[in-house]
């Protein structure tokens, strides 16, 4: 069994509430930080831990924190990114639902380290039931003296608020999130300036993912050096993986980075193998934005080495033969899956979610969806495949924010690795559209045939 540092106590009855959480050592990191550590020392520990952002980009958290500007007399903000809208990703939801105090504790310790006296948790609007849970946990933290004025009798004070969004994937992008928190449309800002210099209300701001902030708790408790021993090399620590699609046991798993992809898919500790024991066809390993890989390349790198669940191994081979760990949204597709149809759902997603500010993404995402729709309708041509390729190429790298890239990569990778399937689809659409897909709703014996588009 791999080591667990976030979900260690997840099966403890009542861990959602304050008392049980506290009895399991909860809030120890706040005590340690506020009573025995200087803010900069915490930043140092986070640096040493090798912790990298769990929201998708994997940027070293300690380094990000050290960029925060500290002008005299200007407030600084910590904002937790709980927008979690990347298709295939539901780990933050799991963490907030089952062990909300871990996030609250991480927010307090991290806010202290950054010198923030007001912090926000920006949560996607659809997670309203979680707003209730978080509000309750925050009320408990206030009642027990972990939030508010002069925490633990020190001169450190902190207010923590939950701010709900209202349905926009783009608000996961940190500057769009800040705009949204200011009550505006979720349009990403043009950088520079970066949030570390001018973020929320023009003040220095750090935005971190839920899981990143939660991981600060074990980092402070055990010390950066100890944390760095977990995991493998530059992929230090554990990662929450959201597993979905055609697997026997979908769900959220905390893995120690470094296990093989094969173990993750097939062992009973994790996904438990492919649904109905079918063959594996493809995997999207890190949320919808990362390149899809066919079975052979996800299990082994192009050099024939076993692919590991680490930032480096998943990226091995670049985009030609590799992918990215991303947000850890692990979507598994069995042999019956139509890559073209799956890609259409992604293309529709990005079209729907483009904020519309910059022309390549605003126009390009819609165009790609329309072409895929045309192919699904049976009117596609071979030229359409080349056109798709050309459009994604002209979006990638040319937009204001990375949503453009995120929209381009799934298209690029699907064509790169499954071109013949696209060609087949175009040549013989009826055969492709009539493939029956069977789904098996978790542990329920109902299977329905699926053919409609």
């Amino acid at each position: 069994m791999g080591r667990k540092v976030l979900l260690e106590h997840i099966n403890e009855a009542g861990i959602q509430g304050y008392d049980v959480y506290r009895s399991k050592g909860g809030y120890a990191s706040v005590e340690k930080a506020l009573k025995t550590m200087a803010p900069d020392a915490i930043v140092e520990e986070v640096k040493k831990s090798g912790l990298r952002g769990r929201g998708g980009a994997g940027f070293p958290t300690g380094m990000k924190w050290s960029f925060l500007a500290k002008p005299e007399g200007v407030p600084r903000y910590l904002v937790c990114n709980a927008d979690e809208s990347e298709p295939g990703t539901f780990k933050d939801r799991y963490l907030m639902e089952h062990i909300p105090h871990l996030l609250i504790e991480g927010m307090i310790t991290s806010s202290f380290a950054l010198g923030a006296n007001t912090s926000y948790i920006y949560i996607r609007g659809e997670y309203f039931y979680l707003v209730r849970i978080l509000e309750k946990a925050i009320a408990e933290a206030y009642a027990n003296g972990w939030l508010g004025k002069n925490i633990l009798g020190t001169d450190y004070s902190l207010d923590l608020y939950v701010h709900p969004g209202a349905g926009a994937y783009i608000c996961g992008e940190e500057t769009a999130l800040i705009e949204s928190l200011e009550g505006k449309r979720g349009n990403p800002r043009i950088k520079p300036p970066f949030p570390a210099i001018a973020g929320l209300y023009g003040c220095p701001t750090v935005v971190n993912n839920v899981e990143t902030i939660a991981a600060v708790v074990p980092v402070v408790n055990m010390g950066g050096d100890e944390y760095a021993k977990i995991g493998l090399g530059r992929s230090a620590g554990t990662k929450l993986i959201s597993a979905s699609g055609h697997i026997k046991k979908p769900g959220v798993y905390e893995i120690e980075m470094g296990i093989t992809v094969e173990e993750f898919i097939y062992s009973d500790e994790y996904c438990g193998g492919i649904l109905n024991d079918k063959k594996l066809k493809a995997v999207v390993a890190g949320g919808s934005s990362v390149p899809v890989l066919p079975a052979d390349l996800i299990l082994k790198t192009a050099n024939g080495e076993p692919r590991l669940m680490t930032y480096e191994s998943l990226a091995d081979g670049g985009f030609a033969t590799g992918t990215m760990l991303g947000s850890g949204g692990f979507i598994v597709m069995d042999e019956s899956t139509s890559i073209v149809q799956n890609l259409h759902t992604f293309a529709r997603f990005y079209h729907h979610e483009s904020c519309g500010q910059c022309s390549p993404c605003r126009e390009g995402t819609g165009w790609m969806e329309k072409i895929l729709h045309k192919i699904l309708d049976g009117h596609g041509t071979l030229e359409d495949i080349d056109l798709l390729w050309d459009i994604q190429r002209k979006i990638e790298g040319n937009t204001i924010c990375p949503l453009g890239d995120a929209a381009a990569w799934p298209v690029a990778s699907a064509i790169r690795h499954f071109r013949s399937e696209f060609e087949d689809f175009v040549k013989n659409p009826t055969a492709h559209r009539e493939v029956k897909y069977y789904f098996h709703c978790n542990n329920l014996d109902t299977a329905a045939s699926y053919s409609s588009l």
Partner: protein, 327 residues
Amino acid sequence: MQLENDMAKVTIDGIQIEVPDGTTILNAARMIGPDVAPPTMCYYSKLKTSGGYCRTCLVEVTKGSEKDPRPMPKLVASCRTTVMDGMEVSNNTSAKVKDARAGVVEFLLLNHPLDCPVCDQAGECHLQDLGYEHGNYKTRTDFERRTFDKIDIGDKVQLHMTRCILCYRCVKTAEQITDGRVHGVINRGDHAEISTYVAQAIDNDFSGNVIDVCPVGALTDKTFRFKSRVWFTKPVDAHRSCDTCSGKVVLWYQGEEVLRVTGRKDEWGEVEEFICNTCRFDKKKTSDWTIEGPRKINRHSVIAANHYTNLVKPKEFKLNEIKQITE
């Protein structure tokens, strides 16, 4: 005398220039001249925070700075990127830029009606110029284009959203030079549109300026009395003493008649000064004005060329030629 570290040396398409720190790549290029300046559709030097949206001004930074000579991994929007000392930039000399720009033009035209023959802006439309200079000729889409009905926002300004390229200039104009913005961008993605949402007039002293800043024919002057192509009209500089604005305008004549009044646009197509609605909409008699003389149009646009077909593509620099110029 400027201190040395207040200035930055930057090389654009092989031509070096020294500019104050904080200057954008675009403005540095404009200082060199129109042949190296990247095209712009959304940046507007008179509007704060403008630029960054259309992506036509993308350039390649082949050397970041003297201190950190690494090239930038992606093309950057020259209108929103400041120069660093020792930076080297490729615009017309970069194949990557040409390719990306052709892509941007294609995206901008994807849902554009291409109704130039009936558009008031024809002849002074930046998109028309851009498409001609940087686009591909064949359209690769047969999907239906997005369309909207024409609407009047008040009795002076007409909005034809179908032609809008969402440059945000009119929104920033309303926000920065008028009081009480009533129009904005509603909806999201490719459904986004310029709108007042509920029928409303854009009506205050400076609201007419949205017409001048619009790079395409989406916002037009309803008082432009006789339908006429711009190249049949004669632009004349004129002024009057006005309490609200500088009163410096261009009168557009056909024969003896003033068809419309606009701000004075510089060689980048930007107004030199914003003018008030009284000057723009209510003073259409020659006797209202002191005439200064014919307006010089510098831009290599249709108005200057008089015929669209006569337009020549701007000369491209070959690297060896540029060296000679700078030596």
